[in-house]
Symmetry: C2
Subunit: 202 residues, 2 copies
C-alpha cells in the first residue's frame, strides 16, 4: 500500500537522495533512493526491492544514513554502480559512518520492515543529523541529470527509443544551464545509456 | 555576448531563484530570475530585459537581494505577478530589506550594467549573505513547478499547443512526488496558463 494514496491530505513528498548501509561485516553500499518523507524530514519510508543490497543490509543491521546532496556526479555514478570509494566520516554514537561530502546527512534506524511483497516497505526514524554545506538551489541541468539517472536504471523496463528521446530532450537544459560537474555527469550517463542500449539492440 | 560561450571552461551555471529590488522611493519588486553564477556564488550576472522592473530598479538604486528558495509556491506566484506582500526582514548595513522566508539570501551591489542591447547584462557582487533554513533537496514535483513557471512566462512566445503538451508531461512527476505545497503551486500555474491560453485562442 502506498502511503500517498492512503493519506491524500498528509504533507508527504518524495526526496531524491542517497542511502548508505553496511552489511553484517561492515562493507559499505551506496544507492540512490527516493524515500517518501514528511516535509520536516523526521521519518523516511524506503521501498527497495528484495533484490536490492539496501534491503538486505537494513534487514541485517537496521541502521543507515540518508543524504541530501546536490552532487549530481555522485548521484549519476551511484545510480549505475560506478563509484569510487568515497571519503567517510564517523557519526558519534551511531554504528555506521557517513559520506564526508554532502549537503545534509540523516542517520536513521529501521522502525518497521514489511517484506511480505517483492517491493518492501521500510519505515525509518531519524536518529541524528547534520548539515555539511548548503544545497546549491534550483538548476535545470542538475535536475536533468537526476532524470537521466532514473532513465539509466530503467533500461530493459522502458523502450529503448523512448529512453533515447527523453535523453535528447534532457540535453537541452544541460546545454543552457550546466556547469562542469553537471556536464560531466550528464555525459557519463549518456555514454552509459548509449552503450547499454546498443548492446541490448544486438 | 553570453558569458557561457565566451568562457566555455569556466565553472559557471544558472541558478533559478528570486530577486527583490526597490525603486527610488522604496517600492518592493519581486521577480523570479536565473542568473549565471560561479559555483560558490560570489557574483551574479543578471540579464533582464529593459522592460523589466528589476532592470529599472537596479539602474536607479544599484542594490538588490537574490534568494535561493525551495518554496515553489513563491516562485510560481512571482513568475506571473500574483504575490501577496510577503514578510520582510532588515539587513544590517544594507539599504534593502530581504524576504523573511528563504533558504539563503545574498545581498548584492551592481558592479557594471551594460544596457547597450535590449537584454541587459548586469554584473553584481555579493555584499552580505545568510542562511535561513536548509533547501529541501531534489524533488521532481518542485522541479516540475519551476518548469511550469518558465512556461507561464512564455505564453505568446511559444506555441499554445506546445505549452499544453509540456504542462501535461510535467503533471506526471507532480502526481508521483508532490506534497501539498507543490500540488497547490502546480494547480495554480495550470489554471493561470489554461485561462491565458483560452483567452488568446479567441
Amino acid at each position: 500500500m502506498d502511503s500517498a494514496s492512503s493519506m491524500p491530505e498528509s504533507d508527504e513528498l518524495i526526496l531524491e537522495g542517497i542511502v548508505t548501509t553496511q552489511d553484517a561485516v561492515g562493507n559499505l553500499n551506496i544507492a540512490p533512493m527516493g524515500p517518501r518523507v514528511d516535509r520536516r524530514i523526521t521519518r523516511l519510508v524506503l521501498r527497495p526491492f528484495q533484490s536490492a543490497v539496501t534491503y538486505r543490509n537494513l534487514k541485517a543491521t537496521a541502521f543507515g544514513v540518508f543524504y541530501i546532496t546536490d552532487d549530481v556526479e555522485l548521484l549519476a555514478r551511484a545510480a549505475v554502480g560506478h563509484l569510487q570509494q568515497p571519503e567517510l566520516a564517523a557519526i558519534e554514537g551511531f554504528p555506521c559512518p557517513r559520506l564526508a561530502d554532502c549537503c545534509r546527512w540523516l542517520a536513521f534506524r529501521v522502525q518497521s520492515l514489511d517484506d511480505s511483497s517483492e517491493r518492501t516497505t521500510i519505515e525509518c526514524r531519524i536518529a541524528a543529523q547534520g548539515e555539511v554545506r548548503p544545497f546549491f538551489g534550483f538548476n535545470r541541468a542538475k535536475h536533468a541529470v537526476v532524470e537521466a539517472a532514473i532513465l539509466a536504471t530503467r533500461i530493459g523496463i522502458l523502450d529503448g527509443d523512448e529512453i533515447r528521446r527523453e535523453l535528447a530532450r534532457l540535453e537541452i537544459p544541460v546545454q543552457k544551464t550546466a556547469g562542469l560537474q553537471e556536464r560531466r555527469a550528464f555525459e557519463f550517463l549518456q555514454e552509459y545509456i548509449n552503450s547499454r542500449l546498443s548492446t541490448s539492440d544486438l
